[in-house]
Point group: C2
Chain length 282, copies 2
DNA sequence: TCGGATTACGTGCACCGTAATGATC
DNA sequence: GATCATTACGGTGCACGTAATCCGA
């Protein structure tokens, strides 16, 4: 039996070209490598090296062996990766959402219901979410388009507004359409999921000033003349008194969220589907 | 890094179901296995077993690990096989012949010309020989059909006769055809390459009494009333005075042998092609 | 003289086996 | 009591590092 550490050393030597370089890479001594290489030859019963006084190199057989060794190492690495990933999948529930709000609502509830599991949560596009659900990356996804398969339920609604300072020209409107916002500079928080795609697609000539940091975004928003987007999720508590909240007329500005799991998991997630957070039921 | 011997032990346990059975199979002690299984879990950082007080079994993750382990072991076995085979191929010239006679003649000559190499020799069908030449199993083959590719030369002729006791009805003929031999019982030595296929195909209703052992065959042949086949290769010295040698009229009874090597090897085998044994030149 | 491979030598750890213990049927 | 897993303990082989040697650019 020829052990992995020997194969590792062989491939390292094949890559580095000299024992000393390989030894350094492997963090072992040069003599240790010399012996290992001898040992491999011995175990295979085959000459793998061309030995000049002062130079060791792989012969044809040795190169072949190094190639195969690489494959074994890949397989072995694959084992480790796959097993760890599978184990992780047994102990985590991966939730993927098309927007932050469903994640805010569902993550704590999942934590309550599945206390022994790790809950992970991503914000991604609908396409990616579906692919992830099929491939096992996610056990639960929240989309904003009506699913045509798997097990799903409505889990909330969210409506888009704009928030403008009183002095802003748009403040005169009682409602606006995306078309009204053409070319208007908006301060925009980046981590908003599909909302970003929506506004960039619906507003002609969109002009968004992106901000990655949530706190910075809020601070700038409250201290600038720039309009921002806003949803009814925050309407009660976060509405700034110094700003006017104006609804967007287009139907796309109001979305329904759907919580989806694979059919085979529907039993497992019944508690969640049956006890959604209050916000989801409105 | 997770060593091969651990994977071997894991798969063995997966196969056997209990540590004791696996330990026996592996020729190690039960405690050693216990520790190894713990070690694998430790190195992977993952639980692989379900532990009842008195019973150890793989959980789902463990089964996955065992499957992957099997693949690694296969890869590792493959490395050993392939490397040894390649090394062997560097030190051996593999000759494949469609009949024994070219092998008798060529093997000693190869030994003379390539004294540092091992010479191996097989008797196989033409189809198999060609496949073997292409795939590298053989470096040299001898066929009895004119090659249409690669490098070749004529290396001898052989003609088939029958040998009958004087009292046999066939002894009256000066020559025979395969058709004359329909249904006639023949004593037949089995290791004759394509000759066997030839007579079974050409003789209607062939009736061959097969004999695997060369010496036994010769003894029976000399002490029975059964006819046998015979070729001119043996005509001088081995012809029994008590038997009549009768030629076979059909053109297929006389064959030409062709020695073939791959084009890329033609330089290497030039000495052989230029200095064929005397018999080959007749 | 330096860089690289090999040989010589001593050491420590890792794996092993034996024996004992615990647990279940 | 038999079987199976685990723990405890002591031994040993083996892979390692350090040091020394040899060789070639």
């Amino acid at each position: 039996m020829i052990e992995i550490y020997l194969l590792k050393q062989l491939t390292s030597f094949a890559k580095c070209g000299t024992l000393s370089a390989a030894a350094e890479e492997l963090h072992i001594s040069q003599p240790a490598l010399t012996r290992s290489m001898k040992k491999i030859e011995e175990e295979l019963g085959v000459i793998l090296f061309e030995r000049q006084k002062n130079r060791l190199s792989l012969n044809q057989t040795g190169k072949l062996a190094a190639e195969h060794a690489l494959r074994v190492l890949e397989q072995s690495g694959d084992l480790i990766d796959k097993v760890r990933a599978y184990d992780r999948s047994l102990h985590t529930i991966a939730l993927g959402c098309c927007a932050p709000v469903p994640s805010y609502e569902l993550t704590p509830r999942l934590q309550q219901l599945f206390g022994d599991m790790t809950i992970s949560s991503d914000i991604r596009s609908d396409n990616y979410l579906w692919y992830g659900l099929e491939s096992g990356t996610y056990q639960l996804i929240v989309t904003h388009e009506l699913p045509t398969k798997e097990t799903y339920t409505v889990c909330g609604h969210e409506k888009l507004f704009i928030s403008v300072p009183p002095a802003h020209p748009l403040a005169a409107f009682e409602s606006v359409s995306f078309e009204d916002l053409a070319g208007v500079p908006f301060l925009q928080y980046s981590q908003v999921g599909f909302w970003f795609d929506l506004v960039t697609q619906k507003i002609p000539n969109p002009h968004l000033l992106m901000q990655d940091n949530r706190d910075t975004f809020l601070e700038i928003a409250n201290n600038s003349a720039l309009p921002t987007f806003f949803t009814d999720y925050f309407s009660q508590d976060k509405r700034s008194l110094t700003r006017k909240i104006i609804p967007i007329r287009n139907p796309e500005a109001e979305v329904t969220y759907y919580l989806v799991c694979k059919k085979k998991d529907s039993q497992r997630f019944k508690p969640l589907f049956n006890h959604l957070p209050e916000w989801c039921l409105k």
